[in-house]
């Protein structure tokens, strides 16, 4: 796919935003124009450089609790512009989990009001030259594994998204997703790059205030993970009076084909467009999309690569490229939006490492006979709960640290199983960790007692068989 002349122009997010005329952000209280936003960013940049006078900003990492607020967004834009590396964190994460992640990754600074607060001394080594942002890969479980992204990653992905989504200066989005989450951040970045308006709110789709804002501000697009589409279905979106709405976007996990059919029919009737998309934090956000005109006949595909990107399906063993249709392999992606790499400690982001050229997604996929891509499974041990990735090995480790041992985790998206042996009486502890600490609703996970954990001949846990046992126990 070739980029139009309009979109071939280099997209910028981290430079002068006063070139745009209109409103950048509005909340239920105030609205801020792009010119005012630029002034705020510049004064924040000045404050940061003054407070860090004599300090090499590349030897710092600022942990930012990325609230959905003008202040936090100004912090984000100002820090990237002065070259101060950032770790974007979930503001609702429990302090203990955040602290352990920040310690592991060597976060030295955080924000305290309009000031910076020092948590640890500066590092003796500087960050790799291209590092701009660190993002968590694992929702809120506090796994220290972070994705390293450059300014170029963020701008390249915004540019590619703008080449296929119809975002213009006249558009208005709303923060239905948190900003510390790569999908939410991509909505912010693309709208900033286009000079469009974003309604900032912490309200969710189940609250009247959210829909009051959608109507009052003339929101033109809604974005969500599969969970949001369950809500939209329950709310019967088709009955709402939303004259300004133009399109819906979906990512963050597979939307069931039945839901895709429902929403594509609904969009056709309303004159809206439905964009089903595929991505990962490892690719900044987006890797693939289904053109709206193709979704109706192909409700179970991820479509094709975004402009500027390319997919290769590889044999998981030989790593040879698979070109024939309907043969599963690991989905690999090439493009300017591929992360620099993972960081689990300071040494990882200080290493002036080579850039990753091909991203192995961990998803199994094949080409269809029509040349689309279809995901068929997952190689890695994680699942998504309400769109957030949960690393199962890390969760087992957390359970172990809570004294619940042995405990094994398996599941499918939005259905997690915590497996213990029948003699353990761990309900209260598991409930505390899962519901209170990790905030996972009790309808999304089950505690299953399995007398004999199935194992492979190697002695390793046979997770596919364990999952079958758990799914069967659910049915009983």
């Amino acid at each position: 796919m070739t980029l139009s002349a309009e979109n071939r122009r280099k997209v910028t997010i981290f430079s002068d935003l006063s070139k745009f005329e209109g409103v950048a952000f509005c909340t239920d209280q105030e609205s801020i124009t792009y010119r005012e936003l630029e002034t705020l960013i510049q004064s924040r940049m000045l404050a940061v450089t003054e407070q860090l006078a004599g300090v090499d900003v590349r030897r710092e990492v600022l942990g930012l609790c990325f609230e959905t607020s003008v202040d936090a967004i100004v912090d984000y834009l100002a820090c990237v512009r002065v070259g101060l590396p950032l770790l974007l964190s979930d503001p609702d994460q429990p302090d203990t989990l955040r602290d352990s992640m920040w310690r592991a990754l060597g976060v030295t600074l955080t924000t305290a009001g309009s000031e910076l607060a020092r948590l640890r001394p500066s590092h003796t080594q500087a960050a790799r030259a291209d590092l701009a942002v660190l993002m968590s890969t694992s929702g809120s479980s506090g796994s220290p594994k972070a994705v390293m992204l450059s300014r170029n990653n963020l701008e390249a992905n915004a540019q590619a998204i703008l080449a296929y989504l119809p975002i213009s200066e006249r558009d208005t989005a709303i923060t239905s997703l948190p900003l510390h989450y790569s999908f939410g951040l991509s909505v912010l970045n693309t709208h900033l790059a286009a000079g469009a308006k974003i309604v900032l709110t912490n309200l969710g789709m189940m609250e009247r205030g959210f829909w009051d804002l959608v109507k009052a501000q003339g929101v033109t697009s809604l974005s969500g993970v599969p969970f949001h589409y369950q809500m939209l279905r329950m709310l019967r979106l088709e009955r709402m009076e939303l004259p300004a709405l133009r399109y819906l976007t979906q990512a963050g996990g597979r939307l069931e084909a039945a839901q895709v059919k429902h929403f594509s029919a609904l969009c056709a009737a309303k004159g809206w467009q439905l964009y089903v998309m595929y991505g990962q934090t490892e690719a900044t956000a987006r890797m693939a999309f289904v053109p709206p005109e193709a979704i109706r006949d192909n409700p179970d595909i991820i479509g094709r690569a975004i402009p500027g990107g390319r997919f290769i399906v590889r044999d998981p063993e030989s790593r040879e490229e698979i070109t024939e249709p309907n043969v599963d392999g690991e989905l690999c992606y090439l493009g300017d939006n591929i992360m620099l790499g993972y960081a689990q400690c300071a040494a990882d982001w200080q290493q002036q490492g080579p850039c990753l050229t091909e991203l192995a997604t961990g998803d199994l996929a094949h080409w269809t006979t029509d040349g689309w891509l279809r995901i068929t499974g997952r190689m890695s041990r994680f699942l998504k709960v309400r769109g957030k990735r949960l690393q199962l090995d890390h969760l087992e480790q957390l359970l172990d640290e809570c004294g619940i041992q042995p405990a094994y985790c398996c599941g499918i998206d939005d259905k997690l199983f915590v497996v213990v042996s029948p003699e353990q009486s761990t309900d209260a502890k598991v409930m505390q960790l899962m519901t209170k600490d990790l905030g996972i609703h009790h309808s999304l996970w089950s505690l299953v007692a399995v007398p004999a954990i199935p194992r492979l001949s190697s002695g390793k846990i046979d997770y596919p068989r364990l999952l079958t046992l758990c799914l069967n126990s659910e049915k009983d």
Binding site: G204, E207, R208, F210, L235, G439, H441, H442
Partner: protein, 78 residues
């Protein structure tokens, strides 16, 4: 008894003991009552009382007392 059915539906959906379900308990005031729990709650109420709630009623159900008020509109004694 219908009154207990509302309390029971809230307790089940929010994962809390029935003693914690007071009339003033409000959406978003506790971590347990978030959008996920709200969806589960609506599905539970629709199931228990065999009704289909309107969009406005779903997003207006911001407290236990308000839930009762809304359900009464559907001729449910609670």
């Amino acid at each position: 008894m219908a009154t207990d059915q509302v309390t029971a539906a809230f307790a089940k959906s929010l994962g809390l003991p029935e003693s914690d379900i007071t009339e003033h308990l409000a959406y978003g005031s506790i971590k347990e009552w978030d959008s996920t729990a709200h969806m589960v709650l609506i599905a539970e109420l629709e199931d228990v009382f065999d009704v289909m709630l309107d969009t406005d009623d779903i997003i207006d159900m911001s407290s236990v007392a308000k839930a009762r008020e809304i359900l009464r509109k559907y001729d449910i004694k609670c």
